[in-house]
Amino acid sequence: MGRIVGFFCRWCGYTAADLAGVARRPLPVELVVVRVPCTGRVDPELVLEALQQGAAGVLVVGCRRGDCHYVSGNLEAEKRFKLLRLLLCQLGMEGRFQLQLISPSEVERLVEAAWQMVFQLRQGMPGRG
């Protein structure tokens, strides 16, 4: 299976991934994390490019509603990525992209989301690549 590219917000997802390491909760080896200042910065073009270049999936992790360090970056990201998910669904690539909104202490949720994505993709999700 190819890699899963994670675009993790430095204020929540990345901190949670860090904490997962401290708590000895393993994350899948397929996950390659890119730290970003805010999910509002993640252009859909980056997601599509990762998928086109061979990533099995893309996981974007941002802050819970109301928790954005920059007030509204996560809300913008949420609107954008819901549309992107719809686009990928219509293109037969559902399951290859996920957006998770978590708080920095929700280590379990992050670990679970990452593993679940790996399991789903290992079972061979529909779509190219």
């Binding site: 073009e45 599509l48 998928l51 609107k79 549309l83 719809l86 686009l87 219509q90 293109l91 690539m93």
Partner: protein
């Protein structure tokens, strides 16, 4: 003085771009005053042998319209590249596949295969630039007539200079707005609210002076290169995006998706109206699917 030769070829498209050359009669006369058309299947000469017999580099400019759909398109375009000192890609199809490329939306084309004497289909529609280097481009479906003839003349003038390797972008009518301006820069409609409900064109009595996005109609203006004069919004029809992405943007659809998401009301999310967007893929990539990131990259030739 050596004769200046011009060739025009229409690959996978509707021939609209080729006819647009004639829609600016004075500009076309200017072209014929300096150059002779030696190959143009639509109007004068469709003998491929005539083109093949020419020495390499003997055409001043080869104009290619349309995307590559068949083996023959591929063959002729490679020939045009070899014979032409400058290759000009004209229209949305030549640049990004255009509407015919929507055939490659999943599940793809499963119709009957072409049999002899028809040329075989390529595995997918290819923009010209993915097959041969392109020296100049004119966007549009079809391009604005004056812009096209001016660009052909500009390329004819450049033809005798050594190639720079830089692509000459189409000349547009609003140079003051700059290369990176979008259609909205020229649009007279004004925004007031946001996108609360997706509507389709026949459902709406279009209000004048009000942004289409406020009325729930998808308009490609926010992500589409300006320079067309925003003629469609001026005539009461949302921009369809035929001028393609702004220079420097890789994926037209992704940029438009960001633009639409920015005006979408937050509750227009998954359960809301945003989820009812019909044929999002075909709308976002109406003219640029073949050059997009959502299809597997074309194999380098």
């Amino acid at each position: 003085m050596a004769e200046v030769k011009l060739a025009v070829y229409g690959a996978g498209g509707c021939s609209g771009c080729e006819l647009t050359l004639l829609e600016d009669p004075l500009g076309f006369l200017d072209i014929t005053a300096v150059a002779r058309v030696v190959f143009w299947p639509l109007l004068v000469n469709d003998r491929l042998a005539d083109l093949a017999e020419l020495p390499d580099g003997s055409l001043a400019v080869a104009v290619v319209c349309g995307g590559l759909r068949t083996d023959q398109d591929l063959k002729v375009v490679e020939l045009c590249r070899r014979k032409g000192r400058r290759l000009l890609a004209v229209g949305s199809c030549a640049l990004w596949g255009g509407v015919p490329a929507l055939v490659d939306l999943p599940p793809g084309f499963n119709g009957p295969l072409a049999a002899e004497p028809l040329p075989a289909l390529l595995p997918r529609v290819l923009p010209v630039a993915q097959v041969v280097p392109v020296d100049g481009e004119v966007p549009g479906c079809p391009p604005v007539p004056g812009q096209l003839t001016r660009q052909v003349l500009a390329m004819l003038e450049l033809a005798d200079q050594p190639p720079t390797g830089e692509r000459v972008l189409g000349l547009t009518d609003q140079p003051s707005a700059g290369e990176t301006a979008v259609v909205c820069a020229d649009c007279q409609r004004r925004r007031e609210g946001g996108l609360t409900k997706w509507r389709r064109f026949p459902e709406v009595a279009v209000a004048t002076g009000k942004c289409f996005l406020d009325q729930g109609l998808v308009c490609s203006g926010p992500a589409t290169r300006g320079g067309c004069g925003a003629r469609c919004p001026g005539a009461g029809v949302p921009c369809r995006g035929c001028y393609g992405p702004v220079p420097g943007v890789g994926d037209h659809g992704a940029r438009l998706l960001s633009g639409l998401a920015a005006v979408l009301e937050p509750d227009g999310g998954e359960e809301g109206e945003g989820h009812r967007a019909v044929d999002l893929a075909g709308t976002l990539y109406r003219y640029t699917l073949a050059a997009s990131l959502v299809l597997p990259a074309a194999k380098p030739r």
